[in-house]
């Protein structure tokens, strides 16, 4: 079983266990909606890709996560949060693109799986920019999609006639894994930071501690 499959099974079970209830609340999703989306990602990953010229779009690996991003974007609390979402996504894409180029090319030399690294980038950037789980998911997903698109454009500009696959590995693609990793990291870091902050206030009212 691949790392991606393990992550998705763990995610599904965490939803079933209700452990991610607060995360889902903040993402304006119910448990059932979340499980339905996981199922859509799995099933969509096995459907034929949508072809648009030199771009191939996997339904489960890119279209469904992108749709979730659009939903989350319009459910973002304020205009400022939406702007933060977009900035975090562009930043994550830039970091992922640069990391891809400078990270060692051979798996033997990689300190750990780059697919996890992409999610960590998105999660850290989104958390730093607003401690938002919604932003984390959007930054994780859009970060990889935009970075892949940038790689495609650079290839084409160099005369390399290479098809651009977005989310081509379906449920196991870095697009999905990055979004999930980012939101889980943001939740974990957020909960720990907020718990420390609550501890410091000694039970007094916490102001501005929790975000979406």
């Amino acid at each position: 079983m691949s790392l991606g499959m393990i992550l998705l099974v763990v995610l599904t079970l965490l939803i079933l266990f209700g452990v991610l209830q607060r995360v889902l609340d903040r993402m304006a999703l119910t448990d059932r909606q979340a499980l339905f989306l996981v199922a859509l990602i799995f099933v969509g990953g096995w459907l034929p890709d949508l072809r648009l010229g030199m771009v191939s779009l996997n339904i489960g690996g890119a279209l469904v996560p992108f749709g979730v991003c659009v939903y989350l974007f319009f459910h973002a609390g304020t205009g400022k949060e939406r702007i933060r979402c977009l900035i975090a996504s562009v930043l994550a894409a830039a970091v992922i693109y640069v990391v891809s180029l400078f990270f060692p090319a051979d798996p033997v030399t990689m300190p750990f799986d780059p697919m996890i690294l992409y999610g960590l980038c998105g999660g850290i950037i989104a958390w730093l920019m607003g401690r938002s789980r919604r932003s984390a998911f959007i930054a994780g997903v859009l970060g990889v999609i935009l970075a892949d698109a940038a790689t495609g454009v650079v290839n084409w500009s160099r005369g390399i006639n290479q098809m651009l696959y977005l989310g081509g590995a379906g449920a196991l693609d870095a697009v999905v894994l990055s979004g999930v990793t980012a939101v889980m990291l943001c939740e974990l870091a957020g909960e720990i930071a907020e718990r420390i902050a609550r501890g410091r206030t000694n039970g007094s009212t916490l102001q501005g501690g929790q975000r979406a």
């Binding site: 691949s2 090319a105 379906g170």
Partner: protein, 391 residues
């Protein structure tokens, strides 16, 4: 202040991204710099590899001695000799019996999900599309399909001559950077949907000394082949057994053809299938013609490993010893699969505990939260029912 910092960070990252976009394509240009060497405890040379060596990596030498990397200093490694590696018994090759070593008896997904047992299918792709052979291609790296595709096509043709259907996906996965395996993962996923018996990633090494790979087999100038197995994946045990099976068959049929097996850090997309293997056909300093002489031999080895000798004799006539070996391999595969399940259970339990701990701060509240949710999931059969009845 925070907005200024964000703007600065954004500008910096965009500038870096633009700068990076116009850098030369990352390739194997620095192969010599990335060369690392492993020696044994006495300082005797063991092997070289283009790429780093990490503690815990393993190496099965040409004479089937297992080494484990004990320490790494300045990128070079000292390996501890573990002992002789037990290799699969392939004596069935001598008697020429049809011995379906992997294809129809082992309880692993790639081989046994087919409804038509007579169908033989192997999938191939090339992760590092730029890889080329300097003496023949004039360069070690090209901006497009490198000489490695000629090797892949030749290998495909040789496998087809063995009566095997082969899907060679000639997609490129440029640039040759850390994203290459992620891009080729998409190709591998597409290929696996066809249900192949094995999936092979075709590469060439980056060791400067061509003598590491140059050899003569049956009087013909040829190139050795290195097998690479990723140890950071759940299929690692099964992948390793598959690699050992290939080497054992090669050692019997064409001694010296398989150079060695390197079991290194990383997944090489081998987490996707149990019969996934990475083959290094020669190195960049060897002539491609020499490598092409090896593809037919390697095709026969892979064919025999997966499907047994093509003698036409009935499978039911196989020797008891052969059956026993196959069962041993199956048991090892089952062990690998069950290891993955155990890993999954541990990951789920750890995930639940970590998140519940972060959200509740631990102690009684954490136990109550987990118990309440288990109770909800099982309609009160397990776990702790909420006292107020509201959950």
């Amino acid at each position: 202040m925070k907005e200024k910092l964000s703007r600065f960070a954004l500008s910096l990252m965009l500038a870096l991204a633009l700068y990076a976009a116009f850098l030369p394509t990352a390739s194997a240009d620095d192969l010599t710099e990335s060369l690392h060497v492993a020696v044994d405890g006495t300082g005797a040379y063991l092997f070289s590899i283009s790429g780093e060596i990490s503690e815990g990596d393993e190496y099965i030498s040409a004479d089937n001695i297992l080494y484990r990397i004990a320490t790494v200093q300045n990128g070079n490694a000292i390996a501890e000799k573990i002992g002789e590696e037990a290799m699969p018994d392939v004596s069935w090759l001598e008697v020429g019996e049809a011995q379906p070593v992997f294809a129809s008896e082992i309880a692993v997904p790639a081989a046994n999900t087919k409804s038509d047992d007579s169908r033989k299918l192997i999938a191939m792709y090339v992760t590092h599309s730029d890889e080329s052979y300097v003496p023949s291609d004039g360069t070690q790296s090209v901006n497009g399909q490198g000489g490695i595709y000629d090797v892949a096509r030749d290998f495909r043709d040789a496998l087809q001559q063995q009566g095997i259907d082969v899907i060679l996906d000639e997609s490129t996965h440029l640039p040759h950077d850390s994203g290459a395996y992620r891009r080729s993962r998409q190709t591998a996923e597409r290929l696996l949907q066809k249900g192949p018996d094995a999936i092979i990633d075709i590469h060439r090494d980056g060791i400067p000394d061509q003598n590491e790979y140059a050899c003569s087999i049956d009087g013909e100038n040829a190139s050795r082949v290195r097998l690479l197995v990723g140890r950071a994946n759940q299929n690692s045990t099964v992948n390793r057994e598959f690699a050992k099976q290939i080497k054992a068959v090669a050692d019997k049929q064409y001694p010296g053809l398989v150079k060695d097996i390197f079991i290194g850090k990383g997944t090489y997309n081998q987490d996707l299938a149990p019969h996934a293997i990475l083959l290094e056909f020669g190195t960049h300093t060897i002539s491609k013609e020499r490598v092409l002489n090896s593809t037919e031999m390697m095709a026969k080895v892979v064919s025999n490993t997966l499907y047994g000798p093509q003698t036409g004799s009935a499978i039911s006539e196989k020797s008891a010893k052969g059956t026993s070996d196959t069962q041993k391999s199956a048991a090892k595969d089952d062990k690998g699969v069950s290891g993955g399940v155990i890993f999954l259970i541990v990951a789920v339990v750890a995930g639940v505990l970590i998140f519940a701990l972060a959200q509740t701060g631990g102690g009684k509240a954490m136990g109550e939260k987990i118990g309440r949710n288990i109770s909800e999931m099982t309609s009160g059969l397990f776990g702790r029912k909420p006292k107020d009845g509201n959950g």
